[in-house]
């Protein structure tokens, strides 16, 4: 076990930013924490880093309790959301700074820095200032600065949020590869569920300071524990609708459903599990959104509206009457 978080809580003026959190992160694993803004992800990360003191609970890094240690003594590397590079220091000095602080001379540190910089593809900008390089390069410098001291745990807070959409994809892959190459235990915080699904080995979904569910991306996507997780994970977002059980069917849809007759229940339907052109459900297309590789259709059936993913080969227009089937793997039931 590389990081163990036990009954961790932190309040700010009576608000539970982190509420009784328990997590175990395996060695070498990329663990993502995802949740809406304000759910307490940053606070959780800062508690692990030692930048904030918990009200209650314990944090262990490789078996050692670090509750009372300063950030620098916890053997962590951290990349801040806005990178927090020292603007008055060169890239070389920035990356070397954790070594220099430990008493190394710049000449000695230089070799290590150059080697690492080469791995990150920033060897050519070592004598520039942070203000003179691009956002993507700044991020790599920040990554290098936190990797140079070979930390046991790598903490990343929304590392992609300051990058342009185009660079974000490659940066994401880069971080994943770097993490794999260094075999470094990583706690990765993001509000973007697709990012968490794509990058993590395991992930936790957080809401209002509480961990809702922990699992692999597949588990979380396929078996969300509750309505919140189901609604938060997946794009386009899950359809959540009320249906009435009539004769073993979820009225007004044509889905077999066991349960108390005539009771109204809430179910979730993944937009990508709706297959147009098959089945017995009948609906009118009320709106279409083109998204490049696929489109989203809004299907009106009785008084409910469903988002459905269309492949580019589906030919429908607004106002068309269509029939569709629902793949039952994409139907989620909540208690």
């Amino acid at each position: 076990m590389s990081v163990k978080i036990e009954d961790l809580s932190k309040q700010f003026n009576g608000v539970h930013a982190v509420n009784d959190v328990n997590l175990e992160i395996e060695k070498g694993e990329l663990f993502a924490v995802v949740g809406p803004s304000g759910s307490g992800k940053t606070t959780l990360l800062r508690l692990v880093a030692g930048l904030e003191a918990q009200d209650k609970g314990h944090i262990y890094i490789q078996g050692r309790m670090v509750d009372n240690l300063e950030p620098a003594q916890r053997n962590i590397g951290m990349v801040f959301q806005n990178y927090a590079l020292y603007p008055n220091k060169t890239v070389l000095e920035n990356i070397a700074s954790p070594l220099l602080v430990r008493g190394a001379r710049l000449q000695e540190a230089k070799k290590d820095v150059e080697e690492l910089a080469a791995k990150l593809g920033i060897q050519d900008i070592l004598d520039r200032l942070p203000g003179e390089i691009s956002g993507g390069q700044q991020q790599r410098v920040a990554l290098a600065r936190s990797l140079i001291k070979r930390p046991l745990v790598f903490l990343l807070d929304e590392p992609l949020s300051n990058l342009d959409a185009q660079v974000r994809f490659s940066a994401r892959k880069f971080i994943k590869q770097l993490q794999r190459e260094f075999q470094i235990t990583t706690l990765y915080v993001t509000h973007d569920q697709s990012e968490a699904l794509a990058i993590s080995d395991r992930m936790a979904v957080m809401d209002k300071g509480i961990i809702k569910q922990v699992g692999t991306p597949r588990e979380i996507y396929n078996k969300p524990r509750d309505e919140f997780v189901a609604a938060f994970i997946g794009s386009p977002p899950l359809n959540i609708i009320d249906v009435e059980i009539k004769n073993g069917i979820a009225y007004p849809l044509d889905i077999p459903l066991q349960g108390r007759e005539n009771s109204v229940i809430k179910i979730g339907i993944r937009p990508e599990s709706i297959i147009i052109g098959q089945g017995y459900n009948q609906a009118t297309v009320s709106e279409l959104e083109f998204s490049g590789g696929y489109s989203v259709a809004y299907l009106k059936i009785a008084d409910i509206e469903l988002r459905a993913v269309l492949s580019s080969s589906d030919e429908v227009k607004v106002g068309d009457s269509v029939h569709f089937a629902i793949n039952k793997k994409g139907v989620l039931f909540f208690e």
Binding site: E70, P71, P98, L129
Partner: protein, 569 residues
């Protein structure tokens, strides 16, 4: 926007500044050598005394700026590194800022007293021999410099603290994760990042010290050259010795010196706006333990130095004279006696009325002139106006005093409230343009763009959309203008002859700063022939009270205004 309406914004301010700033300035230059042969300058340069005064001015100004910047820096580091009680310690740090120069100097004359003064008492406690601080020619200028340092630390402290606090929180946390201690964080990250603030603090305290008339004037009871600085010489030659041309020659030389530093300040200010990328290398490294210890020691000593004179003033104001003139001095509150304070307050009434009226009207006039002018700096790109404002602001009152006197004399307004109201905005409008333009610049343009789209004209958009949004800036500027006017000494001294006579139309325009000097037996026009410290301290307190109350009441506003403009006090 139409060119015409854009110009109307700054027209009133520029007309005023031309008439009461540039014209007196030009008159000063002209009358410094009316025949055009520069004989007054030659005479000045040939006189040994004048050379001594110029040297003194250098000692006084650089001594003040150097030491005040270093101590302000240490205090700023201390307060910035605190996790709690930041506000309380900041208040200690700007305590002397709330005491006008005139009151400070008066209090320090008692501290420096060769028989009963606490300064010599402290020396004797340290086993050192007594010093005649204000009497011995070879050390007089240093004694004056100490008082000036005392008054200037707060400005340096506030400007540098603002710089240190503008380091992003995450950069600071990154330094903690990297394992930097306080010493490394400040020397290698925070101070290099705040170097423009530090430079500004140095230049501001330097420029103010160069132009400081009040301190040397009051401390220099014997009118000796060995304690005089250039502003004092200007006043002394023109208004005491009637050597107008020579006095103005000194004024022009002072102006030239200050202009050099004003130029640097303007450059630094531009850099602060755009954010320079040039780097500064700091190669020394101090062990954290030693750094922390040094900061704490210097901070404690500085706080004692800063607080004691204020404490001493309050102590003297509220005790009978008999407790003042004993050796060793009594440094603890033994009795509480308000009688002297009350009688002095009653006596101060005509002076307080004059000062209050002049400061309040100045405050309003300043807002009316500066608010639209600063808007055209921020939004219509009238950068030259900002440069002019900063420049006029840095010039000492001695640069204008003769020209202003000349104009007031020609207008038959001497010894009249109108004279103060006419001339005071010269000091408040320039810094208000500077401060307010920064407030406007910090306001997103989208508000005005929305107003424009909604069909507002330029003036309506300014009054109905922009003005309400920069209310904090207007409040700060108004307060600072009031405080600033309240402080002024040189202008009311030369433009007035008597206290207010309680008549109508009002005559008599001595201000409360002049009132305070009446109780200094060594000062010109003093009303007493021997030491009356209780009255002196009471008058100092009366002079300081409105400033203290305003400052405490509107701390937040003032600090913002101060940082954005970088204002002197």
């Amino acid at each position: 926007m139409h060119r015409l309406s854009a110009n109307i914004f700054y027209l009133p301010a520029i007309v005023y500044l031309a008439a009461i700033g540039l014209l007196p300035f030009a008159l000063s230059i002209y009358f410094s050598s009316p025949s055009g042969n520069f004989s007054s300058y030659l005479q000045l340069f040939r006189s040994k005394e004048a050379m001594e005064v110029i040297a003194n001015t250098g000692i006084f100004a650089f001594g003040t700026a150097g030491v005040a910047t270093v101590l302000g820096l240490v205090l700023a580091i201390f307060v910035d590194s605190l996790k709690r009680l930041k506000r309380a310690f900041s208040a200690l740090g700007y305590l002397p800022y709330m005491i006008p120069f005139t009151a400070s100097a008066l209090v320090w004359t008692t501290i420096y007293d060769p028989i009963y003064g606490p300064a010599d008492y402290f020396l004797s406690l340290l086993g050192l021999s007594r010093i005649n601080w204000l009497g011995q020619p070879s050390i007089q200028i240093y004694s004056a410099t100490i008082v000036s340092i005392w008054s200037s630390i707060p400005l340096a402290f506030l400007l540098i603290l603002a710089g240190l606090s503008s380091v992003p929180k995450q950069v600071r946390e990154a330094s903690a994760v990297d394992g930097m201690g306080m010493g490394e964080y400040y020397t290698s990250v925070a101070l290099p990042m705040s170097r423009n603030s530090i430079l500004t603090a140095f230049l501001m305290t330097l420029i103010i010290a160069f132009g400081n008339f009040d301190l040397p004037y009051i401390l220099n009871g014997g009118l000796s050259y060995s304690m005089a600085t250039l502003p004092f010489l200007v006043w002394f030659q023109i208004f005491y010795e009637n050597q107008v041309a020579q006095g103005l020659a000194a004024a022009v030389i002072l102006t030239i010196i200050v202009s050099v530093f004003a130029f640097i300040l303007i450059r630094v200010n531009e850099r602060r706006a755009t954010g320079s990328k040039r780097r500064l290398r700091i190669s020394f490294r101090i062990p954290n333990r030693i750094f922390n210890l040094a900061i704490k020691m210097v901070t404690i000593l500085s706080f004692v130095f800063m607080v004691f004179p204020v404490y001493w003033m309050i102590l003297m104001a509220f005790r009978p004279q008999s407790l003042d003139f004993v050796t060793p001095p009594i440094l603890y509150p033994a009795t509480f006696d308000v009688s002297t304070f009350i009688s002095t307050a009653v006596q101060s009434e005509p002076y307080v009325i004059t000062t209050f009226v002049a400061s309040a009207i100045t405050m309003i006039v300043t807002l009316l002139l500066a608010a639209p002018a600063a808007y055209s700096v921020a939004r219509h790109g009238r950068n030259w106006l900002l440069i002019l404002a900063i420049y006029l602001y840095t010039l000492p009152s001695a640069s204008f005093v003769f020209g202003a006197y000349f104009i007031v004399y020609k207008l038959h307004m001497l010894n009249n409230w109108a004279a103060l109201i006419l001339t005071y905005p010269l000091f408040t409008v320039p810094f208000s343009i500077w401060t307010l333009s920064n407030f406007y610049k910090s306001l997103p343009r989208s508000f005005e763009e929305a107003a424009l789209v909604d069909g507002y004209g330029p003036f309506r958009s300014f009054y109905q959309v922009v003005m309400p949004l920069i209310r904090p800036g207007l409040v700060a500027t108004a307060m600072l203008s009031f405080i600033f006017s309240w402080h002024l000494l040189l202008f009311p001294l030369v433009l007035s002859e008597t206290p207010y006579q309680f008549n109508f139309p009002p005559t008599g325009s001595f201000t409360v700063t002049v009132f305070a000097t009446l109780f200094d037996p060594t000062s010109l026009g003093s009303s007493v022939g021997y030491n009356v410290w209780a009255q002196l301290a009471s008058s100092g307190l009366i002079l300081s009270l409105p400033v203290i109350l305003l400052t405490l009441y509107s701390q937040e506003y003032l600090l913002r205004g101060l940082y954005l403009g970088g204002t002197k006090g």
